[in-house]
Symmetry: C2
Subunit: 487 residues, 2 copies
């Protein structure tokens, strides 16, 4: 996008001084959120009802603030918003995020009229995000959507028409090992709209992958161009909310936008090179892969598992994603026969060989070396672990199980880093971490492995289906962008 | 199946006295498992290497045991198995589970020959499960596959060619709120095969739904008849392992069975009325639904959510499953407008209305009544909750959050039981429980809701995608079996 437009947007994401208009001591999420970031000393609270909130001075109007302010978060009754926008302009504020709902999304004449008034008040004098949205999370500047979000910066950009989709990313970032460059929830898009944010994040050097949740567009041509602009620069993973008649009806009442048929959206995304996913789980899982992994150079997957039945299912899952699980080379097979016990194992690809997870007490010929052998096979392009072994280790090793697991973590990570950093092949981990697992030791053992991988930017998922689907997305993107050989 | 065949199988699942041949003090899973069930006092340990294991007498041969024995678990070197089978016959044992691998599944002449010898030794004199499998879990008799399995009886039957699929069901049963009538892993099926177990579980009054993992068949006609026999009596949910060339190759080396093309299997399952799923996650999630829920009488879903964006996605997910999210009746809308605060909500279906989760301090017009209003709508056939509210409650209510959550649990359960037991409509819950959630209070709050629902046999999942897909499976089954009106 043009330099001055980029700078304008960048200024909005990185304000110097922020006024929270409608601040309140009672569950005011904007104030709670900003008090937890480095923005805390650059925030002015505004509300004529209070003299003080959380021990800090509260102003009756933004016009009473002594120093300059460049950004406002507005969370007041909808009918007062146009007036307050005028005050913001008078104060010299250049960007405003309007949290308040009750505008065009209601479908009521009154709300539509109010949004028109707001647009007229702002026009050319202040840039507006919203109304009816959660606004910006930007760890570099200290803007935040939830009080629990991380202060760490990352490489994921999120553009979401829905507040709760943005909020959910922001909240679950730590859990999912996602860190963000910036997240924006833009609601009714009365002024700044999806294309603005797409172009900005496309040019933002901090953003490596863009997650998009969109319900509708005001200008189809503009959206097309922005999607294309972004998708040629970095992966854009998108979900269109309201693809069905019912869904469309719900979307209309949610952000009040015009929508199109599923076919139109599908064609739009395909033409622009955008990766379309069909639900939120898939969006998150695909983003994890792009955020952390390099791309595979081909479709040949090696699986290291510890179960025959699951090896079969996993091989079928790879095929469903256009990938294959080829035989290992003779060199690899020969080396594995030397290193892996034969009883109860299947030496081949998948490597269904639980005893390798007990070869952790020897440096030479142990678990790390076995992984390196697989990683070095010229017939494979990526490595997927299916780890579901901790409960067995616990039975066999009893009170030494956690110590044993520590050694497994170290050796699996060492082998995986060799695979990724020396051989240049992606490594994915599926670890048996059921969401409902209530056994604390089981949880501890498996979380240890999850964390060891995540610290090294190796993608982790909790089921083999999800793991292989995420790798499949990377593979398809690599083919589409000429970075891998198609099957 | 014929009465005498049923009784023979039933005897194998409920033995009186069990010999573990090849018992060992070192990570012997069969011994560890049986010592944890009511079978513990009816087990004889056999191994010429030991005089005593875990403080119990160990016999050199099964023939040395004083009293009668009717079932043997054999876990010894493959080459000794045919000889030991002869000893079992001499002892009068009528059923044997052979844990040991190294038979036809190896693809080696030696292994194939050994399996032939085993079959010849057993023929007509003892029934064999396996070799190369985990055998039986049956809480009523005390047979078990893992030391951690529940002693509680349930209504799910599992038939799995793969040991680890059976083991995984058995281990994760508690976590998934699944309880089993019986689980059997049958491996190479040298004698007792999938059709035998299908017919047995079809006639077993304790089994309400059958989960099947199958890699191949020795006799296609026999399998067809057994699948049909079972599927007309109760839901059979099946996954075929090895549907692709690669997968097929892996399956062959796993249980050594002949396999067919994906199309042949698909047609077989469809003809027989079997519900085919494509991966293990789906198998488990579908089984949870059939185990706990009644069937919906139609495809009209009501969604109670707390997010606009996710409401849209969830509505689209319903459509993808052939279901719809229709408008509520005028009566319902009128009642909801009276009970649900207007600000920040969308009163309709989906009911996107977070404030209802704060109406827990009033008996009349509170959360329970709101659920009852939705449940009573004549335009809906089922109710799905998308609960993702605990983190908000925690922000708003601070140290009172857990107490608040307790009230929510009680009121949601009360409303749900009205929906299911009075209105006769299924209720499903999606609760935001990320597998990787590391925040203990978040986990505690959400687990509380999960457990409250599970105690009342209401299906719970951790994502909306999975929840709606599982409900969709029930709906399709209801249509197929004439228990619901098609869309």
């Amino acid at each position: 996008m043009k330099k001055e437009q980029y700078q304008e947007l960048d200024g909005i994401f990185h304000p110097q001084k922020v006024a929270i208009i409608g601040a309140s001591p009672v569950s005011d999420i904007a104030t709670l959120s900003l008090m937890n970031t480095k923005m805390r000393d650059h925030v002015y609270l505004v509300n004529p009802k209070y003299k003080e909130i959380f021990g800090r001075k509260c102003y009756a109007s933004v016009l009473d603030i002594e120093g300059p302010v460049d950004y406002a978060i507005i969370s007041i009754n909808a009918s007062y918003v146009p007036g307050v926008i005028n005050e913001c302009i008078a104060k010299g504020i250049t960007g405003a995020h309007i949290f308040t709902a009750g505008f065009s999304e209601t479908g009521l004449a009154e709300g539509i009229e109010l949004e028109k008034k707001l647009i007229a008040a702002a026009a050319g004098k202040i840039r507006v995000i919203g109304p009816n949205c959660f606004g910006i999370y930007c760890p570099r500047s200290g803007l935040a959507i939830v009080p629990e979000s991380s202060e760490e910066e990352g490489n994921v950009g999120v553009i979401a028409q829905s507040g709760s989709v943005a909020e959910s990313f922001s909240y679950f970032g730590k859990t999912k090992n996602l860190r963000f460059s910036k997240i924006v929830s833009y609601g009714n898009a009365s002024d700044l709209d999806c294309p603005d944010f797409l172009e900005y994040m496309a040019d933002d050097p901090q953003t490596r992958v863009i997650a998009l949740y969109i319900e509708g567009a005001k200008n189809g041509r503009r959206l097309h161009d922005a999607l294309r602009y972004a998708a040629v620069r970095k992966p854009v993973v998108a979900i269109k909310g309201g693809l069905t008649d019912n869904g469309n009806r719900v979307a209309k009442s949610h952000t009040g936008q015009l929508t199109g048929t599923p076919e139109v959206w599908k064609a739009l995304f395909r033409q622009c090179g955008v990766i379309q996913v069909s639900n939120h789980d898939e969006l998150v899982n695909t983003i994890i892969a792009f955020s952390h992994s390099l791309l595979p150079r081909g479709n040949r997957v090696s699986l290291i598992s510890n179960s025959g039945g699951f090896s079969v299912i996993q091989t079928d899952l790879c095929a469903a994603e256009g990938m294959e699980v080829p035989r290992f080379s003779d060199t690899t097979l020969k080396a594995l026969r030397r290193l892996v016990p034969l009883a109860g194992t299947s030496i081949g690809n998948p490597l269904d060989a639980w005893p390798i997870f007990y070869k952790v007490f020897q440096k030479e010929g142990g678990l790390t070396d076995i992984i390196k052998v697989v990683a070095s096979d010229e017939n494979i392009d990526s490595l997927v672990f299916m780890f579901d072994q901790f409960r067995y280790i616990r039975r066999a090793r009893k009170h030494e199980a956690i110590g044993h697991m520590k050694l497994i973590c170290e050796m699996m990570v060492e082998g995986s880093l060799y695979c990724r950093d020396v051989m240049g092949k992606p490594v994915f981990l599926s670890v048996s971490l059921d969401p409902f697992l209530e056994d604390d030791e089981d949880r501890q053992g498996n979380l240890m492995l999850k964390q060891a991988f995540e610290q090294n930017h190796l993608p982790v998922y909790s089921s083999s289906e999800v793991t292989i689907r995420a790798l499949g997305r990377l593979y398809k993107y690599a083919v589409q962008t000429g970075q891998a050989i198609g099957s």
